[in-house]
């Protein structure tokens, strides 16, 4: 499945915040129809990397290739246009609006004819499309007209993921999609991630929860202190190996780059944007 040319490829990408080297010559790739788990300790550079791909930060050095072509991602708009969708941890949903409203927020369908003058909403069309999309993804929600604030955490996560698919992206970045979810809800979200893979999307899942990552990812990519800390085939490795790579204590996994840099872990700007 991870064969052929990668959909998204980072080559020697670096990012500094003042004295802090948040990303240091990182190589990373996602293929179509592949789920990559992006793991690492707090401050390892996960968020910085996602934000660099999503266009919130721009890379200082290195090249990003999308569909084999070198691209410059200067803002979130660029990323979206390329076909990179990001679902941040806070989901950015409006609790007072219903599922359909949230899905189409900012891209509402406008009625044809006279309604175009006042930009009247085409609710029927939007609801129809929402229904199709959610049932394709087998997302179950009490009603498409439920206010998002009344949904469970898992349902909200699924709505946020579904929304990111409306722009027909090729790569989806999910920031901690299972954080703070119960067991059943986590399963729903993981199931949804598998369905994204079936749709031949490239999926990057950032997570602290190794169990979830092992359950859903094809490949696990470890960031440590802003550098690539190892890459594993999820089928053929164990949690200990990955934990070793995350903490830098694993000696035997072939790519032990655990030179202990002096100084603190590269500080990420958590919470500022995602």
């Amino acid at each position: 499945m991870a064969s052929g040319a990668p959909l998204l490829e980072l080559e020697k990408v670096s990012k500094r915040f003042g004295p802090v080297q948040a990303l240091d010559r990182v190589d990373f790739a996602v293929h179509a129809g592949e789920v990559v788990g992006l793991v690492g300790d707090n401050g390892a550079g996960k968020s910085t990397m996602v934000k660099t791909i999503a266009g919130i930060h721009s890379a200082d050095e290195g090249t990003i290739r999308f569909d084999g072509e070198e691209v410059k991602i200067k803002g979130p708009q660029d990323a979206t246009e390329l076909g990179i969708a990001t679902v941040y941890q806070d989901l950015a949903l409006c609790d007072n609006l219903d599922v359909v409203d949230n899905l189409f927020l900012g891209h509402e369908e406008v009625s044809p004819g006279l309604g175009r003058v006042s930009r009247q909403l085409d609710e029927a069309k939007m609801e129809h499309q929402t229904g199709e999309l959610l049932s394709n993804l087998a997302v179950t929600i009490p009603s498409l007209r439920s206010e998002v604030g009344t949904l469970s955490g898992g349902q909200r996560q699924q709505v946020a993921v579904a929304r990111s698919l409306l722009g027909e992206p090729k790569v989806v970045l999910l920031d901690e999609p299972t954080a703070a979810l119960g067991v059943a809800q986590t399963q729903q979200v993981l199931q949804l991630i598998r369905r994204l893979r079936e749709r031949n999307l490239g999926v990057v899942v950032i997570s602290h929860n190794l169990a979830d990552v092992f359950e859903v990812a094809d490949r696990i990519f470890v960031l440590r202190l802003g550098r690539a800390g190892g890459e594993f085939d999820a089928q053929q490795t164990t949690e200990e190996h990955v934990v070793g790579a995350i903490t830098g204590l694993g000696e035997d996994n072939g790519n032990s780059k655990q030179r202990d840099e002096g100084g603190e872990p590269a500080g990420e700007e958590r919470g500022e944007e995602g």
């Binding site: 609790d95 927020l105 199709e132 009490p142 009344t150």
Partner: protein, 408 residues
Amino acid sequence: MSETVESAEAQGPGADKGEGGARRETIRRIVQGDLASLRVVIGLALIWAIFQFENDRFLSAENLTNLGLQITAVGLISVGIVYVLLLGEIDLSVGAVSGLAAAVMAVLNVKHGWNPYLAIAAAVLVGCAIGFLQGFLFSRFGVPSFVVTLAGLLAWQGALLQVLGSTGSLNITDPKITGLANTFYSDAVGWIFAVVAIAAYGAVLAIGYKRRRDAGLAAENPTSMIVRFVLVAAVVIAAILVFNSDRGLPLAILILVGFVVGMEYVVKMTRFGRHVFAVGGNAEAARRAGISVNGIRVVVFSIAGTMAAIGGIMAASRLLAVNQNSGGNELLLLAIAGPVIAGTSLFGGRGSVWTALLGALVIGSISNGMDLLALSSAVKFMVTGGVLLLAVLVDAVARQQRQTSGRV
């Protein structure tokens, strides 16, 4: 997305669940007070019953027509306030703006001999410009809207005194302007209006029903649609009956209802309105969805200023004068209290323009009824304050319930 799949959507457990869920959703809305208007309508009926019991002139055609005229100005101002409340903001300047706009109109028309329509247009523009300025200051510099508009409240009151000059009061005699609040249509015109309004409402319902059917969606239950249609038709017919047995359908009511319907359409059915709700619900989410949050804010405050000016013009037309008290007294508080009493949340993201009319009716009825009973202003203020407090409490409790029961 994929259009090949799911051609037969009405099968499988998903569809069933959707319908049952929709019903539960409706029940939840009623219980949790999202359909607060129902609660308020019952309250209004109670208020009317009490006053009628105390003084049988209360529900007379003449008094009800007067009530309609009394609430026009405050109702129009409330229409703008609803938009501001939906953002979770407040505009304390609308009373002063309404007075200033009326003064601008009166001075231009009376002192400078402007054409009345031009004078009215100038007044509306002044209101719009003030709202724009306040919205800009609030959104660009992040000054709380409370403070910006509080400053505005003082400043525009000063401007009103300045514009009126030494006389302190101006009588309006232009029939074009006084006609706004003092025109009554004949019985026939009233009935034509009723038929057109009812037919239009029926058409809107039917088109909505057909659209959903064509899109293959679960359409609204026809029975509940018919009930709604009959209710609206009954209210329209009753209103026309009342007006016709007094002086006839007032132009002022047409203006008020027209703005309420139009602005309700804008907020509920257009992209702009959806974005207003989004910004009021979660400004950050709206910003990330590509909505110009500051743009929406500036436009909303401009709407509030414009509606305040229109309300002020109607008040001046009814009073036949503009004086130093125009737009003063409790006008501001009543204009904010009305929508809140009728169910528009102070916390943003919930409400409807319809509450401007309903709230104005509630407050107007209390005030009118107490006048009929010859109660003192002391009692009137305390009662109105009590009603407002009650409404805000209900709003706050509903919000708490949403927060505790929100996450399943």
